[in-house]
Symmetry: C2
Amino acid sequence: MKKTNSGKVSIRDVAREVGVSITTVSRALNGYSDVSEKTKKKILEAVQRMDYAPDANARSMGGKPEPTIALLTSELKERDENGFVYGMINGLFQQCSAFGCEFMLLVTNVVKQEKLSFLQLCKKKNLSGVVVTGLRTGDPYYKEVMNSDIPCALIDIKASGKYKCNITIDNVSASQKAVEYLIGLGHKKIGMINGQKIAEVSGERYSGYVSALLNAKIPLHLDYMRYGDFVEDTAFAQTKTLLEKHPEITALFCASDVMAIGAIQALEEMGLRVPEDVSVLGFDDIPIAKYVYKGITTVRQFPIAMGRAGGEAVCRMLNGEPVESELQLPYELVVRGTTAECGR
Amino acid sequence: MKKTNSGKVSIRDVAREVGVSITTVSRALNGYSDVSEKTKKKILEAVQRMDYAPDANARSMGGKPEPTIALLTSELKERDENGFVYGMINGLFQQCSAFGCEFMLLVTNVVKQEKLSFLQLCKKKNLSGVVVTGLRTGDPYYKEVMNSDIPCALIDIKASGKYKCNITIDNVSASQKAVEYLIGLGHKKIGMINGQKIAEVSGERYSGYVSALLNAKIPLHLDYMRYGDFVEDTAFAQTKTLLEKHPEITALFCASDVMAIGAIQALEEMGLRVPEDVSVLGFDDIPIAKYVYKGITTVRQFPIAMGRAGGEAVCRMLNGEPVESELQLPYELVVRGTTAECGR
DNA sequence: CTGAAAGCGCTTACAG
DNA sequence: CTGAAAGCGCTTACAG
């Protein structure tokens, strides 16, 4: 691969065309005031005529790097069911545009993480900061991120360390509100289909569930909670075994809408009607939530806001502004058709 | 902003640490065979110990650019209803990984396009090729893309020119099949809610609609087609006026599922039952399609495959391999609950 | 207001 | 098997 300059016009070409030095072209393009209007105009014209644009890589090398913030996410799933990935891309992109920095999407997995450390990745890509999502506690990057001095916003990952900020919602109180709503409908035997055991949000959402019960003086039944792993099929199976064993349950709090869908299918297959026999309350408000089964009652999260907040936190850190180690975003209980007064 | 090297370890640091020249470090890292195993090992160890990784920008400058393919898309909408953007990101990403090149997401709009020409953008970002989607015929980039010598795959945009490839499905035959399915159910008075008038696919899908009618010797009624602009609300309104004027219509072919949803709402509001009174057939198979109204009968497209095919086409062009100017991907008629035998 | 020169962190002929 | 040197396309003190 010879370096024939590949026909690409460089700053040198523009300089030659106009008859000035590359220094002058560079300064004109960078908006320095010490270039005469006349030559500036000639340069700008030549730039347009020649379709020239400074190579961002070279600028970066030359000392004018464009700060770039990456969204680092785990392997992309076939479908973005909950719209979280798209939402966060969108939100971070917005924030980057507003702040004048570059956006980059980085997808990782364990194999990649073992090949290239987090720090190496940041150096390679020249990252100023990163918004992290979907990292598992066991992933190599998990610790590396925490131990790094790179400004990071972590979505739904407990943050600690220098330049780290955890973007989340108050999962405990959100779940508590949700379960309180069920209690308010007269339900007392309330089951829970939780996410993966290792996920931090699972612990938090279970805490909210427990609090709501305790506050209402409803005895806690440990066997009422099952792990659906955030997966429709697992939730389906768990719901079946749960309700076979505890047919007295009249309401189900699911830690995600995807699991709520699995749960509802299981209930229907068992001949139980939703919400007449069993109420089901989900979490996330995924795009399809309002369409399924006349609408799932759920706790809405705002993925775009998360992406935006993540970007904002990173920008603040880059500016040396103080950022709290945890940032809680709003959530919202959305009442739809899968919940109703307790009939039993 | 002083250039203090910002604590970043460079190839020089590694060379110093190991006691060799940067030339040797570079060659060891690039897998050249003419480095002794012993020094190579020492270098690799130092690299890990120091968390060094070559700056991609510098590599690019030095003569080893990583080819990068961008997904260029119009302004991101609040929600990716049809999952196309996510799907194409995913597909292109997969293809880039497989081909060993970098992925980049670029979002544009008219204002940006007027500021920076397509060629300038490509030079700035050092793009090897780009997969284009969502560009409107009137956008400044539309012509610039066609006139450029940059390898481009255009999703659902008629391609022409050097290194251009149009990725699409056979919209004519897909629509024809869809309408033939309605005809097979006994429908003869079939309306159509089309996309925007200026969109190329609108013309194609209308052609398929017309062909199906003609082949079945059903007279074409020009007033049976309305433009729903690919928008739910517009489709809603158009469906109302269409069915008020032509209550004899028993089936509706919609050029997108989003419009199908709008249409169904309009029908229900008019007291018409779907599919008993009016059958509705959509297009795309968006993620919610199978959940809404017991499932929308629709024509499935595969956005991931489109992204992948786009990336593949670009890679081929980069390799100097021949690529057809139009690549047609498969589609699939998915029969669900919004269509039924004609009852009138 | 303008230009020659150094430097950014790499890679790669070239010479040994 | 190894290193000194040139060059990639920029930016920015520095000197005029």
